[in-house]
Amino acid sequence: MFVQDNKQPSAKDAPGPKPTAKLYSIFALQRDKGFTGEFETSKSKHQFTFAPASARVENGKLQLLGTFRIGTRKVENVAATMISVQGGLGAVPTLITERRLKMPSGLPLTEATGDQGFVGALYFQLSPIKASALGLTIEMSKVQLNVRLFPTNQVERELQVLLSDVAATLYGETPDANAATPLLASLNQIF
């Protein structure tokens, strides 16, 4: 039923220069205070880290400022703006269960939501990165950094809870930038 569209270039429609490949999104895991991952371009694999040095609120969204590294090459002052989050499922972090509130109705709760909610994935938009500084020939003007949280030590656990609270404060039904101020102070203390 399906036929591939045959598009033959004509003489008057001479092909232009080959466009540079574009990097849309990259995946990372939370490791200590930063995020570590790997992506592939033209059959080469690149391990990268993004290490936040500070956190602030910009236009109502969380923004982390830090260094993006591939091997020994790095780009500093990269801004990672949190554009979206995904809730975590399964075992609720202990720090969150300890403060959970019981529903007054006595009806069963939904796991890992409401007062027990926590973030499992974070989606950041990175500011434009000059790929040549990293030794790459790929467009990195609008890269999305997708981070999976799976804390294995105390620093990672504390960051997960803080980021969960920031997400609830800034991205919830009633965003409140003022309420995020003490959370940002705690984040900056860790970074």
């Binding site: 039923m1 399906f2 036929v3 591939q4 569209d5 598009k7 490949a21 574009k22 849309y24 999104s25 554009i83 979206s84 809730g87 499922l89 109705s105 006595g106 009806l107 069963p108 709760l109 939904t110 796991e111 890992a112 939501t113 027990q116 989606y123 938009q125 999305q144």
Partner: protein, 313 residues
């Protein structure tokens, strides 16, 4: 037939003259090469959320809110079953048996829905109902974490009771509500190929919470009536998505003002686009959905073949 793997569909292309679908735009998963394919009929069956995501991403002058969305119902009425309310008991008559690995034996049991079937079974606090999936017998895991104790007494207790367990867990109907919906993420989140992703808005209502409370009470009553000693009952309702029975968001219906698809899984707005997966569901009931999806798909395929023979597609 040519099957082209590694093809991620970006959107459905529409003929600007007729508004009908004329093909799909695809990006190769590995090479990132952009391709286009043409077809007389487009069948969307990418699973509930991916199908709806594709339709919402297929905006055009003729379909500014997404393909098949003149009703505004596309993306709405998302449901999943819920579980998480369960119970465990032990039968004294089976305690202390010779331990054997009974994992995989035919010991499953299903208790179909019994609430709100007729006037006699109507429950005053919730609509619809739930069923129970049950099992019994020893497995590789003796369930030691469910028993209290310490040291030798604890070990003896686990050895004695691990031969005698019976489990019940709930599979329940979540009501279809307009407020539970998906949309293309307004934050601009994309996937690895630059295709906008969905943002999901879904939560349980008091109907589900009352149902969960009743289910826990029924589990306790059932286990006790069967002669079991109760070890644990209750739990938290699973978060929507956990049971992976997501359904709805491109619901069927006779009225094109309130539904996306007609009874043949064909979009009301574009006659040569069909959606044949869980997105078509109007409600979740409490049964596993796969067989119903297959039946609806077979019916839709028969209709498509007939309509093509008649020259209507």
């Amino acid at each position: 037939m040519t099957l082209r793997p590694n093809s991620v569909v970006r959107h459905i292309n529409v003929d600007p003259k007729t508004g009908n679908a004329k093909g799909v735009a695809v990006v190769d998963r590995v090479t990132f090469q952009e391709l286009e394919y043409q077809g007389k009929v487009i069948i969307v069956a990418g699973s509930t959320l991916e199908s709806t995501r594709l339709l919402l991403n297929s905006k055009s002058r003729q379909h500014p809110n997404g393909l098949g969305n003149s009703s505004g119902a596309l993306g709405h009425y998302l449901v999943d079953h819920f579980g998480g309310i369960s119970g465990m008991g032990v039968f004294h008559t089976l305690a202390g048996r010779e331990p054997v690995n009974e994992d995989g034996k035919a010991a499953g049991l299903f208790i179909p829905r019994f609430r709100n079937l007729d006037a006699k079974t109507k429950h005053p606090k919730f609509l619809r109902g739930y069923g129970f999936e049950c099992s019994a017998g020893m497995g590789r895991n003796p369930g030691a974490n469910r028993f209290p104790g310490f040291g030798k007494e604890f070990k003896d207790s686990v050895r004695k009771w691990s031969t005698a367990p019976v489990y019940m867990t709930t599979r329940a109907n979540m009501l279809s509500r307009f407020e539970n919906f998906v949309e293309i993420d307004p934050g601009g989140t994309v996937d690895a190929w630059g295709i906008p992703v969905l943002k999901i808005h879904i939560q349980h209502s008091d109907n589900e919470r009352e149902m969960a409370k009743d289910a826990a009470e029924c589990i306790e009553e059932t286990l006790k009536s069967a002669g079991a000693e109760i070890i644990s009952v209750g739990g938290n309702m699973t978060a929507p998505g956990k049971i992976i029975h997501e359904l709805g968001t491109a619901r069927m219906g006779n009225d094109k003002k309130t539904s996306v698809l007609n009874k043949w899984n064909q979009t009301h707005d574009v006659k040569n686009v069909f959606v044949t997966d869980g997105a078509a569901f109007v409600g979740a009931a409490n049964q596993n959905p796969t067989i119903t999806i297959m039946a609806l798909t077979m019916r839709a395929c028969d209709y498509i073949a007939d309509e093509m023979k008649r020259g209507n597609l």
